[in-house]
Amino acid sequence: MMKANTHKTKIKIVDLQKEFDGHWVSRGINLDIPEGLMTVIIGRSGEGKSVLLKQVIGLIKPTSGHIFVDGVDITTLSGNELNECYKKFGYVFQFAALLDSLNVYENIGITLIENGMPYDEVLPIVKEKLKLVQLSEDTLEKYPSELSGGMRKRVGLARTLVTNPEIILYDEPTTGLDPITSRVIHELMFDMQKKLKITSVVISHDVETFKYADKVALLHDGIIRYFGDAKTIWESDNPYVYQFIRGLTEGPITKEIPYFKDKA
């Protein structure tokens, strides 16, 4: 089992397995996510990184295995207990997943609005979160279709911050963005994590992310093949890491585009 030694474990994943129609995408994932740090999960497209994240937040039910959050096994919870546990989480989607029919104000404040909070109480909270993600108040009335990709991701992050989560899961936050906007998003994530002491789990293909991360895990063939410090990843002699971060075609990671494989 891959462990982080110096920090308290926030999320502990134990022998997590996920099967889709006879194909195994997670084959026994073991991983300890340290509290208050940024952990990046890397791996080729189609390796099941998003599936892993969605199992953690409960959007996909694992076939077997356990996910402990602050020592509580969330795979055994249901109803209100599970809902309470998920209050600790925020999720930033790959393409932001903003609601098309709502403007920026409504998107960011949706949780508060749906809980019946009046407009004059929601507005200052929304403005505060908007400022945190470095967006101007001019955007409040705009609809998602009027925003750029980078702005949408920032709004998605602001929407997540409204719930004051202890853990934020980022699903490929810089995919499709230019290098400058990617850097802005990375710095924003880094700032959020340091300022708000949030435990961050980031799925990324972008090696730039290592500059901001504390820990890196590499997922290949449904198993975590490496877990270690981000600062020393370029010195790692782990063959999977060595091949992946240098983009080499030769090595233990096969050239074929991965697809869900039989467990055999």
Binding site: K54, L59, Y91, F93, A97, L99, D100, T111, R159
Partner: protein, 259 residues
């Protein structure tokens, strides 16, 4: 050969049971949500506007021309036996008891039922529904219940408009095209149309509104496979709703008439 056939029959039977179960459980969840969580009133009214008010023009046109055609066809038959004075009653009863509710439901299915599926389906494939879930917003309370309630409530009103405009259409044809007596038209309606006929038609419309929104939301929530998946789900939604409405209409008629 025989084994393949048995396999096919077995798989088909299992698939039907699975889909029926899924469809029923979806409704059970919606009903439980409707009774256990606060109704999103603003969203329900917004859906009434989208499903009802925005469908009004096509429903009125459908009703008007159906009434006009019905008057023409009835005239062709009734003039042979000298029963032209009953055209008003036939047009009104046909529209109130059957054509008004059924055609309204079919038109709304094509217009609003498909839109319900396409909208929710697009939200599914673009992860907007997942986003709502991660924000701990009850998706059934937010998306499904307002649409089902709105559709069930608004369809009788639409059907009522359709019936009224159909009767007006019949009147126009009888009086201005066929040059029959307007008094005969009105009198036959007064003599032969009862309040129970209207109640029955409105009950049917409510059931049809429920069906088209149930199928529409279900198909939307179970959309998969990208833009093509949304297209397939939308088509299936319209086809399934239309067939269910026509089948239910038969059994409702039997039930309402105690036949």
């Amino acid at each position: 050969m025989i084994i393949t056939f048995v396999n096919f029959v077995g798989k088909s039977a299992l698939d039907i049971c699975s889909i029926t179960g899924e469809f029923t459980l979806f409704l059970v969840k919606a009903v439980i949500t409707a009774f256990t969580s606060q109704l999103k009133v603003a969203k329900t009214f917004a859906q009434m506007n989208r499903i009802g008010v925005e469908s009004l023009s096509i429903v009125l046109l459908t009703g008007l021309f159906t009434g006009m055609v019905l008057a023409l066809q009835t005239y062709i038959g009734f003039q042979r036996v000298g029963g032209e004075q009953f055209i008003g009653a036939i047009v009104a009863l046909g529209l109130i008891r059957e054509l008004g509710p059924v055609l309204t439901a079919l038109m709304v299915t094509g217009r609003a039922g498909s839109a319900i599926t396409a909208e929710i389906g697009t939200m599914i494939i673009t992860e907007q529904v997942d986003a709502l879930t991660t924000l701990r917003i009850n998706v059934f309370q937010y998306l499904v219940v307002p649409r089902i309630l709105a559709s069930t409530f608004i369809l009788p009103f639409l059907a009522l408009f359709s019936m009224f405009f159909g009767i007006i259409g019949g009147y126009i044809v009888c009086v201005y095209v066929l040059e029959l007596s307007p008094e005969d038209y009105e009198t036959s309606i007064r003599n032969y149309v009862e309040l129970t006929d209207i109640k029955g038609g409105l009950k049917k419309a409510a059931v049809f509104g429920f069906i088209l929104s149930w199928v529409g939301t279900y198909k939307g929530m179970y959309t998969h496979g990208g833009a093509r998946g949304v297209g397939i789900a939308t088509t299936q939604s319209v086809v399934a709703s239309s067939i269910l409405i026509l089948i239910t209409n038969y059994f409702l008629t039997k039930l309402l008439e105690h036949l």
